[in-house]
Amino acid sequence: MKKRLLPLCFALFCPHLFAAEIAPGSAYMAPLASQSLLLDIATSVKGRLISVGERGHILLSDDGEQWRQVEVPTDSSLTAVFTLDNHAWAVGHDAVILYSQDAGQSWQLQHFDAEKQKPLMDVLFFDQQHGIAVGAYGLFYRTRDGGQSWQPEMHPELLDPADVEYLEELRAEDVSLYEQELSAILPHLNRLSPADGKLYLAGEAGLLAVSEDRGQSWVPMEVDYYGSFFDIEQTPSGRLLAAGLRGHLFEYQEDAGWQEIATGTKSSLNSIVVVDEQTTLVVGNNGYLIWLNDGVQTQQTEEEKAVVNAIPYDGRLLAVTETGIKVVSKK
């Protein structure tokens, strides 16, 4: 079999094809949007559910069963949604940030920067004015005016210790080159998670960090794993959990630090979901569901499709998966 290799120089022969005029576009209203790849879900006021996903899809439901797509001023894929009272923010690829003040019914574009070629992965607001959004390659934005303006921040304290020395040397030589390199070398920031006045962060290459000042400064946490983490979460009973690549699940112990919990799967774990006081669910690729209460119970959905996140709603668990919204339950 012959492998095809595409010479990059081909692009030179037809430059007009590649001339970019990147506009945010708008989401196509698709009958199958509720069965498309959905990436996050949140509840808003009055039992309103908001789910976001690929192609700028935003879907609303008031009963967890009937979903309707709403108009969105972008067709970039949306990776996370955050709600505060009837305010909602959604972030995604092309560093897009959307804002709604009517519980998800209508959306405005607050930020869009496709040339950056970096996606945002999570967004969090401390109150109506103050929030942060994080993403790939250490992408970090902060707002103090409810999202009217977003200021980029760099957090070199999140660097891999191995890179710190090299970058310090670089900074001594050339500050602009240092900043350029920093923005390429910083790890992906995958998830923000507030708990007990602290803010936790899960990211690429074994990154787990904690902040006590709303993310202005970060302290990396020691963990014996160099794969990526996709979520970090504190349960109501006070357990601090982190989930990541290839079925890796860790729990923080005051005395012994991060300890691995065997999950019995090698599929990546995408999110940690607090189901109730006792039960926590970790969801992952290939339909893996890991139930944590007294013990660990690993299951797979019938479809075996990636489950990205889930939310307890009205006595059920609604999951966002690569084939849309699904109800998941313990077998």
Binding site: L6, S36, Q117, L245, N285
Partner: protein, 772 residues
């Protein structure tokens, strides 16, 4: 002038009777020998409208993307999942056997066992992957089976190569149109037979079932079903013989027309072979039709001769007179049959053209066998006094019926008949307007729903997420366009819009695969399932896709979007094709074109369009030919109209019947109307040729008609019924399209006959008003 010609021919033929018989004998011997070598012949390209734009695009890219001619073999465990030694051993056997069947493109055989079936997984260091079935796999090791099971999930081939319930696994192959070694065309029927003998018979047992689908297999099953036709042929000959005997009450007179008709069939088959044609399963009914038409004209001939003999002439004189009288109307009738069939040549689909050639040649041959050979043979016949007595008795009984029927030409009755006909026409017109194009039912339309092939189709479409009903939109652009975010996202967006069209089950393209790979490069994180804006990243993604995936050509200037459809009903196809035409406008530029179409449904879309486009011209040509021939033989507008109007009403009613019976207009039903009109016109021509002669002599319409009935009526009635009984046996065919053709032809024959004896005289009564 015409009578001079017939006189001349009569002199030649009847002075040299022995010579004539000798020549016929010699030709028959030669053609019989030729017809022994006739082969059943079915080729994929014959079934498609090759000049249709869709098919031009299809042929253009066929080399790169294979095409619509593939074979799917699903191996299923009857009890339990596939993960056991017995199953994997059997799967390997099937894979290897399919690989070695001649006609299979060996580079395009895929299954769990092919090296190209690989999985990739994300590990901390990046990607890791390998063949789903590792090189050191041994099926008796449960751990190895477990590993394969995990690899299958990682490879994402559940629903494609492994059924959703893990009870079946698929082996697929592409077929070559030409054998690379011999350069010969692929012999579809041998190939299909090989599938049965080398796969199904070998490997199906009480634990494993084998399900095979694909065009070649379908044609093979159709050809098998077509062999039933021999049985129907035998039954039809028997029934016809009995009927002819009841009609003429003489064994000898029964044998002669049958014999001449069989000679016509032999000539036709022999000529086909001489011209290098084979017999396609779709046109296997034609010899049958030729036989029936031959008999009906033969009956006219014996009918006439008998009347002459009974009137006191010798058989030789009777035969001579019959020849002279029937050569023109018979010749015109057969000629219009021939022309009717020839009009099918305007349809640019191979098998319809073949049908046109086969049928028109067969009918033309009847002119020789039944209008020349038959009277010559009859001139030797001796009919005794007993026969004359029986004949007279019968004639007296018939006269009472003819008197009754002649009332149709009374003014009052004629008005009533014409009002009823007009009402029927309006109703038929309304119904025929709703006639559907294409196949209306799931599965292969040529076969019954209960056939093994269709059952296998239902099983495979049920158990897998794939469908045999797919349509490829060929995206034509500039070389290396797959590295452009703009082009790829246009493809991606177009694909998503198409996926949302009702009738599209799922879709795949290089763009959708590139998104999966992009997520793969980002640790399998679903949040990265996007098309990267960065060109290098895009290059990295698409470089992992091989051309053998069928999703791109060598320089990725052509990328198909494959749309899997829920079914292939005409309305589904139309809806999807219309959606393609609409959505592509949003994305097309000079250098980015979304071309229709490849894949089986692409072929169907083209065929449906060709069939529906051909319908009106075909009707115009067939009626045009009939009108011209009628005009030439009658030299009268009134006579022409009297023949053509009932024909037209009946063909509209036949279309209404198709709506009512949910028979779609397809490659196999489209010719029926032309055949029906071509043959139906015979009745009118026979009746009116006697009538117009009488009318010209100043006879009243009623008397002229009564006379015509006495002379030709019994033969017309008999012909209609014989033809109808013959084709109605097709209703029992194991092939759905033969059943449909049988129903429609029976209807056309019977109703056209009724039209000629009821509506034609009523029209005549109006067209030739009595002079006061």
């Amino acid at each position: 002038m015409l009578s001079k010609l017939t006189d001349f021919l009569e002199t030649i033929v009847f002075r040299h009777r022995a010579w004539v018989i000798g020549v016929f004998l010699a030709c028959s011997g030669l053609l019989l020998y030729q017809s022994m070598h006739l082969k059943l012949d079915a080729a994929f390209t014959k079934n498609i409208p090759l000049n249709h734009t869709y098919m031009q695009n299809y042929m253009k890219h066929q080399k790169n993307f294979g095409g619509a001619n593939s074979i799917l073999v699903s191996v299923c465990n009857r009890e339990g999942t596939i993960f056991n030694q017995n199953f994997f051993d059997r799967l390997k056997d099937v894979h290897d056997s399919l690989f070695f069947i001649p006609g299979v493109d060996r580079s395009q055989v895929t299954s769990l066992y092919s090296a190209s079936t690989r999985f990739t997984e994300v590990v901390e260091e990046g990607f890791s992957g390998g063949p789903v079935i590792p090189a050191d796999f041994s099926s008796d090791d449960p751990a190895a089976l477990k590993l394969v099971s995990e690899n299958i999930t990682k490879a994402g081939i559940v629903g494609r190569m492994v059924s959703d319930d893990f009870k079946c696994s698929m082996v697929t192959a592409q077929l070559l149109e030409l054998d690379p070694q011999t350069g010969q065309k692929l012999d579809t029927l041998t190939f299909a037979e090989n599938l049965e003998t080398k796969l199904r018979e070998q490997y199906e047992d009480e634990r494993i079932s084998i399900h095979i689908i694909g065009f070649a297999k379908m044609v093979g099953d159709v050809a098998d079903g077509a062999k039933d036709v021999l049985l129907f042929f035998a039954i039809a000959i028997a029934i016809t013989a009995l009927m002819v005997y009841f009609f003429c009450k003489s064994l000898l007179l029964t044998v002669l027309p049958l014999l001449c008709s069989i000679v016509a069939v032999i000539w036709q088959l022999g000529l086909l072979t001489l011209l290098g044609f084979g017999l396609d399963p779709m046109s296997i009914l034609v010899p049958f039709l030729v036989f029936a038409i031959g008999v009906s004209h033969g009956v006219q001939m014996i009918n006439y001769v008998s009347k002459e003999v009974v009137a006191g002439h010798t058989a030789k004189t009777g035969a001579e007179r019959a020849f002279r009288t029937l050569l023109i109307p018979g010749g015109v009738a057969l000629l219009s049959d021939t022309v009717g069939f020839m009009t099918l040549l305007v349809i640019d689909i191979g098998i319809i053209r073949e049908l046109a050639i086969t049928a028109s040649m067969g009918v033309a041959v009847i002119i020789l066998t039944n209008l020349i050979l038959l009277p010559v043979l009859m001139s030797y016949v001796k009919l005794g006094e007993g026969y004359k007595l029986r004949f007279n008795k019968q004639a007296a009984r018939a006269d009472r019926f003819w008197t009754l029927l002649a009332n149709c030409s009374n003014k009052g009755e004629a008005r009533i008949i014409l009002v009823v006909v007009a009402a029927l026409f309006v109703y038929g017109w309304y119904q025929s307007d709703q006639m559907k194009i294409g196949d209306l039912h799931a599965g292969a339309p040529a076969l019954h729903e209960s056939s093994r092939y269709n059952q296998d189709t239902f099983l495979i479409t049920d158990k897998y997420a794939i469908s045999v009903d797919y349509l490829s939109v060929l995206v034509e652009t500039v070389p290396s366009a797959c590295t452009s975010h703009e082009v790829m996202s246009a493809i991606d967006e177009f694909q998503w819009k198409m996926e949302n069209v009702k009738g599209v089950q799922s879709a795949v393209s290089l763009a959708s695969v590139a998104k999966l790979i992009n997520a793969g490069y980002n640790e399998g994180n679903p949040k990265w399932r996007v098309l990267p804006r960065n060109q290098q990243t895009m290059v990295q993604n698409v470089a992992r896709v091989d051309t053998s995936s069928g999703l791109l050509n060598g320089d990725c200037s052509v990328m198909p979007i494959i749309l899997f459809m829920e079914d292939h009903k005409a309305e589904t196809i139309t809806r999807v094709v219309e959606a393609v035409k609409q959505y592509r406008q949003e994305y097309e530029t000079d250098e980015l074109q979304f071309k229709l179409a490849s894949g089986p449904v692409g072929v169907m879309a083209a065929t449906n369009e060709a069939v529906s486009e051909a319908q009106t011209p075909m009707m115009m040509y067939v009626f045009g030919a009939v009108i011209i021939l009628c005009w030439l033989s009658f030299r009268s507008l009134r006579a022409t109209l009297a023949v053509v109007i009932p024909l037209y009403v009946v063909s509209v009613l036949a279309q209404a019947l198709m709506t009512k019976l949910q028979i779609g207009l397809t490659v196999s039903t489209l010719p029926v109307i032309a055949l029906g009109v071509g043959i139906g016109v015979d009745y009118g021509i026979y009746i009116l040729s006697t009538m117009s002669h009488n009318l010209n002599q100043g006879m009243s319409v009623r008397n002229a008609y009564f006379d015509a009935l006495k002379e030709r009526g019994s033969a017309v009635l008999f012909t209609g019924i014989t033809l109808a009984i013959g084709v109605s046996t097709w209703v029992f065919s194991s092939l759905k399209f033969q059943m449909d053709m049988g129903i429609l032809l029976t209807f056309m024959f019977v109703v056209n006959m009724l039209g000629a004896i009821i509506v034609l005289p009523a029209l005549a009564a109006v067209f030739w008003p009595e002079k006061k």
